[in-house]
Amino acid sequence: MGLLVAGWIVFIGQPTAVATKLRMVSSQLSTPFVKLGDYIPIIKSRRDLDNQNRELRAANDLLRQQLRAFDATVAENLRLNKTFAFKERLPYRTLGARVIGRDASNWYKSLQIDRGAADGLRPDLAVLNADGLIGKITAVTRAEARVLLLTDPSCKASALVQSSREPGVVAGMEMTYVDRRAKINPGEAVITSGFGGVFPKGIFIGTIIKGRLDPQTGLYQTLELKPAVNYRRLEEVVVILE
């Protein structure tokens, strides 16, 4: 019997005309039994379970996608709440903006925001977020503006060491022209001094990492700063209009 079945299987696998006909006949013969399977409860319930399983998997995939979107929305909501609360606390007329691009070059550090001259923006307005100072606006079109980041050496801000009130100039996250006799402690905060007319007084810039004497003149100290803002993850910013 086993040999017969094995021979049959081998025979129907051959691409001959006889085998093809036999295959058709066999297929037709077996069709009623396949239909019959639908009426046997255990087979029917297995099929139903398979279908149900497929539908549930699809629903699960959809829900996972929705959950990911929900998580992103919650994160955005938290960020926006933080920015909005910060914006409300500021004693200036401000405008919120979204970051829509980065600098296309390797040599300058800037951002593109989705607000422009039509919203009242103009060059030399300060840009910040809840963490601290970000930079200033350098170029404006009708609907967009370019923000030069404080990490760019050409963006300079007059600053103070918060505790000792030692003045200096911050450029490229270095504070230069600090008195050589000033006692500097790592971890001290550096804030804007308000001189220069671009950045309002008291905005947090960063903390001191270390200081060294200016190697060329020896007259001043140069302080290395840790920025308060994570410039790589900026998504929303606040522009001070007045």
């Binding site: 691009g101 980065r102 600098d103 296309a104 070059s105 390797n106 040599w107 300058y108 550090k109 800037s110 593109q112 350098t138 170029a139 370019r146 030069l148 760019d152 050496p153 050409s154 790589r232």
Partner: protein
């Protein structure tokens, strides 16, 4: 690929470049590769025009003064086109070298504005290397 298509590709890649995140402080730059492609494919005048357009786009999407990169890329295209008359474009190192030359030209333009430091020179080496490597797939796409 004709000049118009290269200009359209320049426009698209400049837009993409501005939205790419920097990795370890280095941003992928496609435009030097297109400058190299133009210089080794078109006649000198057209190549310089394409390079100038690419530089203008780069400057428009950057905080640097408008026109500096355009001038640097135009000079690079002129130099590369001159080299192209004595070098075989189909040799693999030629496009890589041309892409690196274009990236170095752009960097020199930027150095005139921001100044040169040791860190900037180190970064220049990385930028030139990456620009050279990107040139290979850009040439492949543009040629096909």
């Amino acid at each position: 690929m004709n000049m118009l298509l290269v200009l359209i590709l320049t426009l698209v890649l400049a837009g993409i470049q501005a939205r790419l995140p920097a990795i370890a402080g280095l941003r992928l730059e496609f435009l030097p590769a297109l400058v190299a492609y133009s210089a080794l494919t078109f006649k000198q005048g057209r190549a310089i025009l394409c390079a100038f357009a690419a530089g203008c786009l780069q400057d428009a999407l950057s905080a640097g003064p408008f026109g500096v990169t355009a001038l640097a890329y135009a000079i690079a295209a002129w130099v590369i086109a001159g080299l192209g008359t004595v070098l075989d474009r189909n040799l693999p190192f030629v496009p890589v070298l041309a892409g690196s030359i274009a990236a170095i030209a752009g960097a020199i333009g930027a150095f005139c504005i921001i100044g040169v430091t040791g860190a900037a020179l180190l970064k220049l080496a990385g930028v030139a290397l990456i620009a050279g490597l990107i040139t290979i797939p850009v040439f492949f796409v543009a040629d096909t």
